[in-house]
């Protein structure tokens, strides 16, 4: 496998990738917690964006409800931890299958009844909203009053129970992002990846080429959901509190999809680049506004909206394809 990667990927891309992850791995030695917390956020969105991209970018089905899967992951692992003291890594064994099962149900209904396009997007919102209201009334996870993970001053990092300082969380999400990138890469170059792209490009032609489109769409939605749910587990143990109103809110779903959309849908680097661009812009705005002593709620988001607007208008394909052309790199597909 490694051999094939080394053979298939252009040298220039490999060098760039190696440098990129090496720099990120070295960051905790030079930067403080402030930079780390921002990078954690960036990598979190790069990770979830990568997972979402499998469904939209590869298979062409727009999900506007991926907060459903981060939320399910977060609540599964967190409630097992709070109630039974189950470590989050074991909790993943519940979180991933639960997210995949719900995605399977949603996919089954959508694909059996040939729901696609805008209608599919609305269906995903409906499922997420269902979960939001359902969890609001779900007493075992404390409903709308919120689920809290015990926070104490930890003398050392407990990697098994995910209790510790930002540096630990940073490395976890860094490894996860690198893995998600690798998984996406391998999937895209596999038979399944080719079939996904075919479905994205023209579903009728894909069927006529012998592809069992139902099966491959189910795979896409379930793999995407399973990967996304890990993001939720991370979110739960990093923030230590969960409210259905926030976790399943449509704003979370939109946040997840912005990075790959801005970075370049269907590309492997898009989610990562998009997350960096968006979070840097957002944080930069905060710093500038603070420097001028402006503290009005909403003003940062307005600027942010304009930044987004500018990117959408100026770079319709996304930021990454534009950068890639300038660096002389080429990635397959749009």
């Amino acid at each position: 496998m490694i051999g094939r990667i080394l053979r298939d990927v252009p040298r220039r891309t490999l060098v760039l990738l190696a440098c990129f992850f090496a720099v990120l791995a070295a960051v905790p030695f030079i930067a403080g917690d402030y930079v780390l917390t921002i990078l954690i956020l960036i990598l979190y969105f790069a990770y979830t964006g990568q997972a979402w991209n499998i469904l939209m970018g590869f298979t062409g089905y727009l999900s506007l409800g991926h907060a459903l899967f981060t939320g399910l992951g977060a609540y599964s692992a967190a409630s097992l931890f709070v109630h039974f003291g189950v470590a989050p890594w074991l909790g993943l064994l519940a979180a991933i299958p639960i997210a995949m099962a719900v995605a399977g149900l949603m996919g089954f209904l959508a694909f059996r009844f040939r729901v696609s396009g805008v209608y599919f997007a609305i269906l995903t919102i409906a499922f997420a909203e269902f979960a939001r209201i359902g969890f609001d009334h779900f007493a075992w996870v404390s409903g709308s009053s919120g689920l809290f993970l015990p926070v104490a001053q930890y003398a050392h990092n407990d990697l098994w129970r995910l209790r510790g300082n930002p540096m630990m969380f940073y490395y976890i999400i860094l490894v996860a992002t690198a893995l998600a990138f690798l998984i996406s890469y391998l999937l895209l170059r596999s038979r399944t990846g080719y079939f996904w792209l075919a479905i994205r490009e023209d579903e009728q032609a894909a069927r006529a080429t012998g592809i069992d489109t139902f099966r491959y769409k189910m795979m896409a939605v379930m793999i995407s959901a399973g990967m996304t749910s890990f993001g939720g587990v991370f979110y739960a143990f990093y923030y230590n509190n969960l409210f259905p109103e926030q976790v399943f809110h449509i704003a979370r779903s939109i946040e997840i999809i912005l990075a790959p959309m801005v970075g370049g849908i269907g590309t492997l680097f898009g989610p990562i680049v998009g997350a960096f661009v968006l979070e840097t812009a957002s944080e930069g705005l905060r710093v500038i506004l603070e420097a001028f002593g402006i503290d009005v709620p909403g003003i940062k988001q307005v600027f942010w909206g304009f930044v987004l607007l500018a990117i959408v208008i100026a770079l319709p394909e996304g930021v990454w394809p534009w950068i890639a052309r300038r660096l002389g790199l080429k990635e397959r597909g749009p």
Partner: protein, 242 residues
């Protein structure tokens, strides 16, 4: 001679309108068989039933001795029927090579093996030099050949061609005819084509079925069929007879 495709008395109605009315045909293994007829004669409907886009209201379709009517398009393709679309449907954002890869991967799950086979198919369809181009950047004749290449890559026993010559210039048509003749003679692919371009039909087909208002009005060798009065009337208009 064994029969590869056997269609018996199939009928398709759309809201009371009979698009295909009790049509039967037999395509022998290794043959090139053409279905002709004026616009709206039901050719594409007949085709779509064979390819599995929709099921007939009555009648049966047997491929390779097994009933296939009512099966879905992907299953029919896996049984060994490749098709092209009247309005071409390549995967626009993928490269020419990746378009064909999708087809090749159907029977060759290994990426390396599929890639080798893809190159062979590209070469056969004169597309090898354009393999790195995006499908959306191709000219119409190239896109049509790309669709044929994608279908061929699935290694079909029967190839369905839906007006694959339409919109081509005569020289391009001759080139296409040549491609199909080679596929048929050198690689044993049986071909069923719907065609408007008589030049191509006369050059390729060993047997012709003529559809008019959904019904078969003539059947036989090209030379004989074009002489039949009913065919000339329906196809060229009644005045042509005089």
């Amino acid at each position: 001679m064994t029969v590869l495709l056997k269609v018996e008395g199939i009928t398709k109605r759309f809201r009371g309108l009979v698009a295909v009315d009790n049509v039967s045909l037999e395509v022998p293994q290794g043959a090139i068989y053409a279905v002709i007829g004026p616009n709206g004669a039901g050719k594409t409907t007949l085709f779509n039933m064979i390819a599995g886009e929709f099921a007939p209201n009555a009648g049966t379709i047997a491929f390779n001795g097994e009933r296939v009517d009512g099966l879905s398009p992907d299953v029919i393709c896996r049984r060994g029927v490749g098709r092209t679309f009247q309005i071409v449907k390549p995967f626009p954002a993928l490269s020419v090579e990746d378009n064909v890869m999708v087809g090749a991967l159907l029977r060759k799950p290994d990426i390396g093996a599929a890639r080798e086979w893809t190159r062979v198919v590209l070469d056969r369809l004169d597309l090898f030099d354009k393999r790195a181009q995006r499908a959306s950047s191709l000219t119409l004749p190239d896109r049509k050949r790309l669709e044929v290449a994608r279908a061929i890559a699935t290694e079909p026993k029967l190839l369905l061609l839906d007006e694959v010559m339409a919109g081509l210039r005569p020289t391009e048509t001759d080139r296409m005819v040549d491609v199909f003749r080679r596929l048929n003679q050198n690689h044993g692919v049986t071909i069923l084509l719907i065609e408007h371009v008589m030049r191509a039909v006369m050059a390729l087909a060993q047997e012709i079925l003529v559809l008019h208002h959904g019904a078969a009005i003539a059947k036989g060798a090209p030379k004989d069929v074009v002489r039949e009065k009913a065919v000339i009337e329906s196809y060229l208009g009644a005045e042509a007879v005089h």
